[in-house]
Symmetry: D2
Subunit: 386 residues, 4 copies
């Protein structure tokens, strides 16, 4: 099996011998060469240096230790309760000046205050990708504090920390070692047939996708799609999805969309069961404004679902505009807490900040089981019949 | 049928009445509103202003009139011959100081010189997308002069001018009105199993895609994919395609890839008949370096095809690195020659330069027939049986 | 362009010269050879002779002239009204003993009686595929009379006659020349969580498909699929479609299903936006019984849509069984009225009755525009910009 | 987790209590009801009783004990060698009159004779699906003896026995308990441009698929497709696949084709990277004859691959006809050796012979991991970073 991580630059020979079998060392050498070649080329393409990686998505470091934490969880199972208790205890003991908040629910954890819109410096989520989406929705009107997310044993696309690493993860945040990946969100604005905003001055920020869907209607809906105000097509389908790169591995993927690296600033437009066989998923620059307007002749309204939550219904002639939001979700990288030796090595890598692509590229293979061919040994179930 | 162009900003009322039916005027008003709303938001997201639209892809204007022209054509049919003659005559008459070159072939047009690597300021192509790819390949080692492309009656994805517009198009170039869209290319470098470049210092620039394919071999090939030096997966398939956004409507589309707007800087990785059902097309930022290495255990070599032309064969252990090229292809926009009235109107549009997205968004619907549902009236063939 | 019809056997030379250019004649000869070869093989495979083509789907002839006609139309536009009038006049004049019925609606045509469940010998539909589906639904409890369908100018997948051919078509029915294709239907039976039939003794016959869908619910539904009582999988998705071959070109096709020839007896199971990337469309023999049961843990009910009409809602634990119906829809073939010369020629063809496959194979290319490559000349829109 | 097997008919209550938890018993009752309902319906559809399940594919029992065995293996690894030795010893000891043959290779096993076309009553394969394909190819000219296939630890789509069951499996064959599934093959005949058979009287029988492919050519090939002698379309693509239901889970699946149950008699036509987005996989009755003819204008020949082995090259104007072969591959069912108690229970099931659908329906979920959603817990890799 090939190594899943190949540093690009200047690995010390000792490290090479220590960590890798000789064949891998050779391969590393290969990539070293490859890298040098490409470095020279990079000199020729300074203008390409940061393209496709906007300020909104590049990694940055937190500038100061948080003074307030909001804990977000959806489930209240025993493992989650225990994890919150342990985490609270750790914070109170090691960072006694920090206030810890929780949403106003019956089951507010002991040691946490009810959150009444106090300034939050750090969000901690415990649960799956859905919990992170929920945290994002708590700040759907504007800026989101950095999010430190813990999984309770499952691995999601949003690259959470394992809950067992909570101490290490918190320390990395408080000591300023944590880096963040700004995950793009979409700003959605709804208009009625009189062309008035449905909720004046109120955008909706979504992290995964906005979907228009015919819902329970027996009829396909007809949606006019405009890109930057220009008519692209009239889509007859079950619905349409506009997703972020983060959301490209969610609903859009089920509907046949491509997988888009989260550091690319792009909008993905994916049709749901389109009547036209030619209507393939499209990827636009994040500078584009996509407008979806329920056709005047549409026999079905468009039910609106944002990050999996049903909200509006759009009737014929009503529309929604979708564009990159100014308020991304700053997610703390799992690589923030990797061993210092590995980190040192990785910092020599060019381009990528410490570990960002690592997390995604490594996990995507895992999550999608690219290597699981449909005749794979891995899929063997014992076939003895006795 | 909805109008295919809706200006976003400040259309004069007179224009509105003159050019559009009232319902469209209303809709225009709608987009005006939409635009204002989004403008305010733009103020909040200055950092997003140019994201995803690198210097390599944004529109720029030519700075000075060309002094030398290279005419490129693949076919030598009667319409092409006549078109070249007319074009040459027009150039000699209106721009007498300009030298016109042609590739060294038997059928060099009267009035053109054989091109022996003289400096070229403008390339003129006559033919389909394939002719533009050929022109690109003539400059595969470095910078490409601006390309003015004419179709002979078919409309391609590379948005050529209609040949009947040759005078208007040439004038727009010589008078400095022409704008260009830099179409990203890919730089491909080949390495042997000793990790040496196969052709020292020699990159290949491709405009559409590079494809690795098992070719005539009965066996699937096994390719290790690395992204920025990190192992993504081991792909067992007929082959892999790495395409530019420009190439996303070519081979990659046939293999199931998404359609990517040419102003986005991105790499598209599309598998060809992968054994794993989970292996979906991926989109990476153009800052990524994708490395494809024929697996040591691969039973098939990888035949290499670049822009549809077979070149190398990669054996197990050999590899190719693919990244954004420093040498895009500057393509002159068809909108360079639109009516001044329309142009004036369009210049008020925000973001998009005059006509860039127009060309693509308008044509993509045409070319892919999004609106052709599979029970469409448009598909009616007379079904009378007598 | 290749000829769209190549007879397989013994075309007379004179016919060959009369009807075809010599190159086509050569090709015909080719197929003649091909056929002979395969005929010999047929002798070796008598057991394969009728496989896959059950009595329910093979072509048969009507045995006696109809004594009662039911006219079915959904729209009441001017062309439809005029067509019904002409048709009624023709029937009354040429077949005066025949009673003509119409559904009890306000707009019952002059000369027709209100249908109160009298025995019907022939159904005549005027409209698109949807009108034929509606006619099928009028007989959803049992046997369907032969259906003679006319399109009003559009060509559907259900292969209707052109309205201008109404006289010729009616004559072919009354003179016993018409042949029919029995289009398979699905019998759907619903059960509640107490395992009782929801409507005792009441099956639903559908011609295209039954779809279970999460409808307006924000949650994916979970459906256990059983084939012949055996668990196939637990599907997490937007929904599932079970379609007939006839329905394979409708909703199932939009969801990614294959196109199945209507003379094959098969069930097509197509997932709608499944969460699992491995869940591909499946095709089962029509002897299979497919059971769809909303999972106990499903967070969404399954809205049921049959031939595009919403009917039931299935809650967790409820189920529907789907199997081939004993009551197909006998559709009169368009080839029933082809010229006698052509018919004579076609009758020499082996296997296929006169014209059945013709209709489908010929039309499918048309309807799906297989030949429309996405760079096709056919898609050209004039691209002049002035 | 739902039970993967639900008998349809008359389970004794004692069995119900013995083997299943009460909830499953209830569900069984459900299916019992379901079945009764459908039984009554079956009375109405006698003509549908065996449709889609031709003699060629239905299960039959072996009529007499084999007198000669051919052992087929591709690999000669230690486990395979040991397994052959054990198997040979078992045969010699328990069935001393049986002659055992092996292909004439250097490594012929001790105790086996070199096969020189002696009559073979039973083929025993050791290896994966590829070994079964190889065994099929040894009898490509005509009838195939029953095939008893053993996997060496992997589970394939062709439903082999586990090697550890060799004694039980052989006994079931010799005692007449084994049942077989006749897996359809395709008969392929090649013609040159003079319309003469390329190999007179020589068909090729394939078990999975025949594929035409452009191979190493840079150009797409153009193939005219005829169904029963009638032109379907002109396909511009990388190639075309015609597969059996057995082959529908092989190359055709990678190219986007549906999964077809092996007891359905059908041909699957799947395009490989077609230029037209409308060209979807098609399923035809097995009575159809599909003809693929390299177009006269095709710029690429069609390399022919049959069951993964390269054979012919077809030049422009040459063609191949593909149809159901009279010589299927009789595969011994794994369910032949299930416990008698389970078998007794299963024999009450209607329609399905003992275990046929079981094998396939049970395994398909396994092999394709339908249930592995792309955020599944099953895919969890430990994500701790320390």
């Amino acid at each position: 099996m090939a190594s899943s991580f190949l540093p690009l630059l200047r690995p010390s020979l000792s490290l090479c011998f220590r960590a890798l079998r000789s064949s891998q060392c050779a391969r590393r050498k290969l990539f070293q060469r490859t890298f040098y070649a490409s470095t020279e080329k990079q000199a020729l393409l300074p203008q390409l240096g940061s393209q496709g990686q906007s300020p909104a998505t590049k990694e940055v470091q937190l500038d100061k230790p948080p003074k307030s934490i909001l804990i977000v969880n959806k489930l209240r199972t025993q493992p989650v309760v225990l994890a919150i208790d342990a985490l609270l205890e750790y914070v109170h003991e090691h960072y006694p000046d920090v206030r810890v908040f929780h949403e106003d629910r019956k089951d507010i954890p002991h040691g946490a205050e009810v959150w009444k819109s106090e300034q939050i410096d750090l969000v901690v989520t415990l649960g799956g990708d859905g919990t992170i989406l929920h945290a994002s929705s708590l700040f759907s009107a504007g800026e989101v504090p950095p999010v430190l997310s813990f999984s309770m044993g499952t691995l999601g696309f949003l690259l959470p920390f394992h809950i067992d690493d909570y101490a290490k993860a918190l320390d990395s945040v408080f000591t300023g070692k944590a880096t963040i990946l700004n995950r793009m969100r979409l700003a959605c604005t709804f208009y009625d047939t009189d062309l008035k905003e449905k909720e004046a001055g109120n955008d909706w920020q979504v992290m995964n996708e906005i979907a228009l869907h015919r819902g329970g209607s027996p009829h396909l809906n007809t949606i006019d799609i405009f890109v930057d105000g220009q008519h692209l097509t009239e889509a007859v389908s079950d619905g349409l999805i506009v997703s972020t790169p983060t959301g490209s591995t969610a609903y859009s993927l089920s509907a046949g969309g491509p997988i888009v690296h989260p550091s690319l600033s792009a909008l993905v437009l994916t049709p749901i069961c389109p009547r036209s066989l030619s209507f393939r998923p499209l990827v636009f620059p994040s500078t584009s404004i996509v407008t979806l307007r329920i056709g005047d002749r549409s026999r079905a309204p468009g039910g609106v679902s944002m990050d999996g939550r049903t909200s509006h219904v759009l009737h014929p002639g009503e529309l929604v505009t979708v564009q990159a939001s100014p308020y991304p979700v700053p997610c703390i990288n799992r690589s923030s807490i990797i061993d210092s030796a590995v980190a040192a090595e990785m910092q020599h890598r060019e381009g990528a900040g410490p570990g960002k692509e690592d997390d995604w590229v490594r996990d995507i293979n895992n999550l999608l089981q690219y290597n699981a061919t449909f005749r794979s040994k891995a899929l063997l179930r014992h076939s003895r019949t006795s």
